[in-house]
């Protein structure tokens, strides 16, 4: 049955069962506490009394017993005492019960013991123990249980309308619950279907962090945001790749077309140019793909402890000849407690790109300084140059793929170096920002101990 396959319906059934069970348990408890238990106590008391009276009868005979019964009936007690003593020939020796049934073998009797007092009839129900005495006499001793009887009566009366009311409550409650959950689930399902239908902007409506469903919705929305961002990034890459690759590709085609009819001398030149162009294309392609992979976290990065200080020194050392040739002072200031968690090769690549960039944009005689120090749980790398900086309105575009600052017109590059740095920073969940110094560009990169990305291969950082 389809209904049984619905979680909310099954939950409603469960609710109905639990609700009924709870009511049953409560009723049972009430019955036991206010009827069963007091009745048991009265019974126990009567058993004791009867046993004592019987002992008296054995010793003192009918007279003594009858006197004791009268005393008992006259005594003040929370429950009125009833009795009847019948001799073996049927003669009533003593009684304050109006009537009683013939001996039937039943030990416990319930007898109407209506009492007339001041002309009013009081209804009294008595619980009576029927005890045969030695010699054939019959002793009936009882106590008033009218209060218990009334409660029992009331409960029984209530049960008549309680049962239908319970059923109604159960079904209404179950239906409301089933509908509420069903509706929340539907909103999740609808959002998922919208996304499946190709509308990546579809989101689960969330009313704030109110309950589990809202939290689940928020989580799903975060997931959809991430997917949308990834898709968007892939789309942007393919757009810009198409755009940026077309130019060199058409140059390559032109060279190759000219090659068909070129003179031998010219042909050699064209071949070299075509090879260089294709090489450039391949490198650009590699760079774009690498960034896209890092951004989409396809790069199964293995984060491990990396001595960032040593890495920075290595990177500066690698670029030293370049700086020297341009008369730029390249200074590195590091301490020896700069262990971060990261991918060694990617970090080196990123730092190397940053240094390369700084040197390229710094005029001759300038300075590039690389500084790293520990701040609480992070290592902050600061790179400053004495170049022209970048117009403030373009700061935000630094690190965008194929973005090249106007100052970069005469400088080699694809506009991918900083895009890769950004991608690496993101992969390490480390804030990276560019600001204008006085003068020059200031890059601040805050790296910390990061947990390996969930679900990725790799080990938790140690040491």
């Amino acid at each position: 049955m389809r209904l049984l396959g619905s979680f909310s319906f099954r939950l409603a059934l469960l609710y109905a069962a639990l609700f009924t069970l709870s009511v049953a348990i409560l009723l049972g408890l009430y019955y036991w506490v206010s009827i069963r238990h007091p009745t048991n106590e009265v019974q126990a008391g009567l058993e004791g009394e009867a046993a004592r009276l019987e002992r008296l009868y054995r010793v003192g005979g009918e007279g003594a017993l009858a006197a004791a019964l009268e005393r008992r009936a006259a005594a003040m007690a929370p429950r009125v005492a009833y009795h009847a003593l019948i001799a073996n020939d049927g003669r009533v020796i003593a009684a304050n019960l109006p009537s009683w049934p013939a001996p039937s073998g039943a030990r416990w009797l319930r007898i109407e013991a209506d009492v007339y007092r001041d002309g009013d009839e009081d209804d009294h129900e008595a619980l009576v123990l029927d005890r045969p005495l030695p010699g054939g006499a019959r002793l009936l001793v009882g106590r008033d249980i009218e209060d218990l009887d009334e409660i029992e009566e009331a409960v029984r009366g209530a049960a008549v309308w309680l049962l239908p009311a319970l059923l109604v409550l159960v079904f209404v409650g179950a239906a409301l619950m089933s509908r509420a959950i069903g509706r929340r689930l539907d909103t999740l399902g609808n959002a998922a279907r919208r996304v499946m239908d190709g509308d990546l902007t579809g989101r689960v409506p969330v009313r704030g962090p109110r309950d589990d469903f809202d939290r689940l919705g928020a989580t799903l929305n975060a997931m959809l945001d991430r997917i949308e961002a990834s898709m968007e990034s892939v789309r942007r890459v393919s757009d810009s790749v198409a755009h940026e690759l077309r130019t060199p590709l058409s140059r390559l085609q032109a060279d190759l077309a000219e090659l068909r009819s070129a003179s031998p001398h010219r042909a050699a030149e064209l071949r070299e140019r075509a090879l260089a162009e294709s090489d450039r294309l391949a490198r650009m392609f590699d760079a774009v793909l690498r960034i896209a992979r890092i951004e989409a976290q396809r790069h199964a990065v293995e984060l491990a402890p990396v001595d960032l200080g040593a890495l920075l020194v290595d990177a500066a050392d690698y670029h030293a000849p370049l700086a020297e040739d341009r008369g730029i002072a390249l200074e590195t200031k590091v301490t020896d407690d700069l262990t971060v968690s990261g991918d060694r090769d990617l970090l080196f690549q990123a730092v190397s790109n940053l240094i390369d960039n700084a040197i390229k944009f710094t005029p001759e005689g300038g300075a590039v300084s690389l500084d790293a120090r520990r701040e609480a749980d992070a290592v902050v790398v600061t790179l400053t140059d004495t170049g022209p900086g970048i117009p403030p309105d373009l700061l935000g575009r630094l690190g965008e793929r194929f973005f090249r600052a106007p100052e970069a017109a005469g400088i080699a590059g694809f506009g991918l170096g900083l895009a890769l740095v950004r991608a690496v920073a993101r992969l390490h969940a480390s804030p990276l920002d560019f600001t204008n110094g006085k003068p020059g560009l200031v890059v601040r990169w805050r790296l910390g101990w990061t947990k390996p990305t969930a679900g990725r291969a790799g080990q938790a950082p140690t040491g």
């Binding site: 090489d279 391949a282 490198r283 590699d286 760079a287 793909l289 690498r290 992979r293 790069h299 199964a300 990065v301 293995e302 290595d314 050392d317 690698y318 670029h319 000849p321 370049l322 040739d325 991918d343 060694r344 090769d345 990617l346 080196f348 690549q349 190397s352 790109n353 390369d356 960039n357 390229k360 080699a412 590059g413 170096g417």
Partner: protein, 224 residues
């Protein structure tokens, strides 16, 4: 050298085979992974060039199978997957070197030379002497014509790598991988500047050049 070339792209295969034959090697091309594994295990080769993605059998699986038989023939992996992690995976599977596609032929030829002729052990001996040049790995000294030359740690490592492959072309990316020990793609090739500095120290005016530039390929240290 006898080289087994396992590559499914006919044009790349022909292109590589031709270049290697011109260098004087015996090349046996095979296009299928399974056939390649059978060939590799049934004969002795000095070097195997293996494409990462093959029909029939994945390149890395082939390599693992080959290594499982105890075969230690040097393997150079070619791959369109140029990522660092792909490289690591390739080397872990038992590859000796990894070259991403597209590659320059000169790069391939240089790597083949270095890989195929690799000495089994003690790749770098404690002392290397080439003409009037001497490098002592233990004392960490470099001398030319008996005169001691001061070099930085990095320069010493460059020299050690070049000298232990004297007579063979060493490409820029080989130097990056072995001397800098980071796998990265330099934005600007600063290696040339490192080398020219080193040369200035080693080859004062008038001295016989020790390290030569091989156009379009890399560097080579004289072996005599």
């Amino acid at each position: 050298m006898r080289i087994l070339l396992i590559e499914d792209d006919a044009r790349v295969s022909a292109f590589v085979a031709k270049a290697l034959r011109e260098e004087g090697h015996l090349v046996e091309p095979i296009a299928d992974g399974r056939a390649g594994l059978v060939r590799a295990t049934s004969d002795r080769f000095d070097l195997i060039i293996l494409d990462r993605m093959l029909p029939g059998l994945d390149g890395l699986k082939l390599l693992q199978a080959l290594r499982a038989t105890g075969d230690a023939t040097p393997v150079l992996i070619l791959s369109a997957l140029g990522d660092t992690d792909e490289r690591v995976r390739g080397l872990r599977a038992g590859g000796d070197d990894y070259l991403p596609k597209p590659f320059a032929l000169s790069e391939l030829v240089a790597r083949v030379e270095v890989l195929g002729r690799r000495q089994p052990a003690a790749e770098t001996s404690a002392r290397i002497e080439i003409g009037d040049f001497a490098l002592d790995a233990i004392a960490r000294t470099v001398t030319r014509a008996g005169r001691r030359i001061d070099v930085t740690d990095r320069e010493f490592r460059i020299l050690t790598y070049l000298a232990s492959h004297a007579g063979r072309v060493v490409t820029r990316s080989m130097l990056l991988e072995h001397v800098w020990d980071y796998h990265f793609d330099p934005q600007t090739n600063v290696i040339d500047q490192h080398l020219s500095r080193l040369r200035q120290k080693l080859e004062p005016a008038g001295a016989e050049p020790l390290i030569e530039t091989v156009r379009g390929a890399g560097y080579r240290m004289r072996d005599r």
